[in-house]
Subunit: 481 residues, 2 copies
């Protein structure tokens, strides 16, 4: 521990009490590694202020003392975005004690929520008021609002309501010098200069610490139906989505595309799973239909499915008979990554291209990667209607995990990202940059873009004290090995 | 003309041809004054590159030579945002020759539109493809896409589709050093660092020049009905809006609140106008109802009106019999500012507060301003559902315009803005800051916010060459007189 870190810890303890500081290595240990066990860091302490004033105090002192801070919520980053640097140069700044839902206003459709509130808890609180916070994702039991805002999280319900950015009506943040940005007032129109809220959404804590947000709520779901369809190709799946949307307005809230081989792996590796359809199809689609009146979703989804079968857009279809079966249907989708990992080493890529270009991209990118790296198998699944899939390159049977990843895996990843950029797409659709994609962002962004990112970072945090080594560094990052 | 300006003009002419430079004072004159005749500037030349490469050349040379540029589209700013400085230190950079609609894709619901395209022309082009660009405003025959993006324009259709920001799927811009930001790819999910598109939207040309945008289109209107209702108060009007929204989903696209006195002034000063209702009411509401099937809008709006009358939310109501009458109905609303100016001097304030707080705000702010400045009369009208009204303070009869404005008018404006800030609102809901509100923004923003705005400005444009003297200056602006 450096003298400056020690002074910061003492100051925070004196100002905010013992609970605001964690120094026991056993208590710190779980927060030094990302949840997938890929990134490991070190930190001599966790600071955990319980309110925004204490947060301002801690950040202001850190600023004066030159101590770096790594903000952390549920620690569910997919890109090492919340793991401290390995040299122990930063303290973790935990948001978990800022866990109050300050207000829920069903009439206005707004909630003011602190950064440390766990997503599932917000879901419950909104439901208790007849409302719904419509963003959800696999990590909802751990992920916190601050992290979701700071990474502009996506998930499986983006089709209708957009990513976190479109659900954020305002942001409260502690800026790097300890001053407070209060953007919580939910103004539908406000043109007072550069939009600081939008700048902080997706900034991964590198420009300041998001401490609370005003979030949009929508009316609670009255009725929901979930079903699977078997289809011939991603192109047909997209045509199917457009047809279902024409027939139902905004009732289709999820439309997840899954290849047969991914489903087969789930059935092989995940206990208690069963195939949703009796027949076999090269591609499957999982659909969620939401209705505003009771007992109308299932018949409405069945009618859409009948149309799809009649039009030849799908070859088979089934609607869940009840909530338990709907849950089992979703479990198949949510278990794909786990099943692929159980099968062998895989390189995952969270990518997007313009929606209409996705079917072609999936086909051509898979063909090119499989041709360039004999034995690998590509598998793309996910949010077709958002132009966002998880593009996995799976190792040949029997490959040694670490060696394959460092060699063929890395090379294949380069190729995937090159193809994405050539298609006008994004190498990070919903997971952000963190530390994992820092070098690839540098490699694949035009110099003008990197210069703009650095200029913004320098303007807010010239000494790189806010989540250092994430998203962008002031010095060009080293090339990918 | 300075030697640097002269060198820039020569370089642009040599690179981009004679059409790219205007130096005849008679041709320049109309662009030196804002359309309301309030702000006057000087400029030795207008540069008018016709494509993004030529725009990059001009901006890069200006950057090297240290010449300031004032971007200008339709010159319809309400806050002097496109008027050059009075000392002739800047050239005007006109976007009007960049007026191509690069593409319209009805299936994807997207158009790529250059900055100089006039809004009404985009409306027509979209309609020709069965689509609609849903943002509109009074200046649609002059205002250009670049200006609408750069000011995050609002207008009368924001209720359903939001401001310009929510209709922009991507931005192309020339940054202050002449490099290009290409954000035109319409990715529904993209988390590659700070959102540069959102930073440029509403930046009023102070961080770079928006040269094109990818805009969202929606299906063309199949049927529309327009009507007026007479109501008792703004609070009742808001209850009425909520009731109509519950009864119609997203069919209510406009909901404009107008006080009786404003309507009376329109009828007095605007030739050919007629009262929409036979009866007299303290407040009136203008509603646009949009339907997806032919001949359904009028009966649907009439049914909503019957419900409102039955519930006592309105005392009288009428639906336009045809398009001509609908046009006449809208003309009443669109003529309020002109009528108030004809009646006497007025101070206009484009303000917002949270939607639910607006009825109380209108009442209490009017009472306080009228008490503090005996003889003045406050009049607030506009976009109630957006929490955004145009709050006018009208001079007593017989007041001398310039003297009243500089004295009582300015003082009353201060008070209005103070009350807005106290209510958690914005002193610029849809018009931006420009040069008109520079000092008030400084006076009424927390130091942390001003520091953040300046840090961003400095990061992109440290020598203040991009639209100097607008939105924010690096030196604190002088206090309001």
């Amino acid at each position: 521990m450096t003298p400056a870190q020690s002074a910061l810890i003492d100051a925070v303890r004196a100002h905010s009490g013992d609970k605001a500081v964690v120094t026991d290595p056993d208590d710190i240990a779980p927060w030094l590694t990302d949840w997938r066990g890929r990134f490991h860091g070190a930190a001599p302490a966790i600071l955990a202020p319980a309110n925004v004033e204490d947060m301002q105090f801690a950040v202001a002192r850190a600023h004066e003392l030159g101590v770096a801070l790594v903000p952390q919520g549920g620690n569910t980053s997919m890109v090492g975005g919340a793991t401290p640097p390995a040299d122990g140069s930063a303290l973790i700044l935990s948001l978990r004690r800022m866990n109050r839902i300050r207000s829920i206003d069903p009439a206005a459709g707004l909630a003011v929520v602190e950064a440390g509130v766990i997503l599932a808890n917000l879901h419950e609180a909104a439901e208790a008021q007849g409302m719904r916070f419509p963003l959800t994702l696999g990590a909802r039991g751990s992920a916190t609002i601050g992290g979701l805002v700071s990474t502009n999280a996506g998930g499986t319900q983006v089709l209708r309501f957009g990513t976190m950015r479109s659900l954020v009506a305002g942001v409260e943040a502690v800026l790097p010098d300890g001053s407070r940005h209060d953007g919580l007032a939910a103004l539908k129109k406000d043109n007072r200069g550069y939009d600081l809220d939008h700048l902080l959404v997706g900034a991964e804590g590198t420009l300041g610490i998001v401490t609370a947000a005003t979030l949009r709520l929508v009316p609670a779901v009255v009725d929901r139906a979930t079903g699977w369809l078997g289809v011939e190709s991603p192109a047909v799946a997209l045509t199917l989505l457009r047809a279902m949307e024409r027939g139902s307005g905004t009732a289709i809230e999820s439309f997840e595309l899954v290849p047969k081989l991914a489903l087969d792996l789930v059935l092989k590796h995940i206990p208690g799973t069963r195939p949703p359809l009796d027949s076999s199809h090269p591609w499957l689609v999982l659909v969620d239909y939401v209705a505003a009146s009771p007992d109308t979703a299932k018949p409405a989804l069945e009618a859409l499915m009948q149309d799809a079968l009649a039009a030849g857009l799908a070859q088979d279809a089934v609607v869940a008979a009840n909530e338990a079966q709907a849950g089992a249907f979703w479990r198949l989708r949510d278990s794909i990554s786990e099943a692929e990992r159980a099968e062998g080493p895989t390189m995952a890529h969270d990518i997007s291209v313009p929606v209409d270009a996705m079917p072609d991209f999936m086909e051509s990118a898979s063909a090119r990667v499989e041709a360039a790296f004999p034995g690998v198998h590509c598998s793309a699944f996910g949010h077709l209607g958002d132009g966002n899939v998880h593009f996995h390159v799976n190792a040949p049977a029997g490959a040694d995990g670490d060696r394959w990843r460092a060699g063929v895996g890395e090379a294949a990843s380069h190729m995937v990202y090159d193809l994405v950029v050539a298609a006008g797409g994004s190498i990070s659709a919903e997971h952000g940059i963190g530390q994992m994609k820092l070098a690839e962002l540098e490699r694949l962004s035009p110099p003008a873009r990197m210069a703009a990112l650095r200029a913004i970072k320098r303007a807010f945090d010239p000494h790189e004290l806010m989540n250092p080594g994430k998203l962008v560094t002031l010095a060009p990052s080293p090339p990918t090995p």
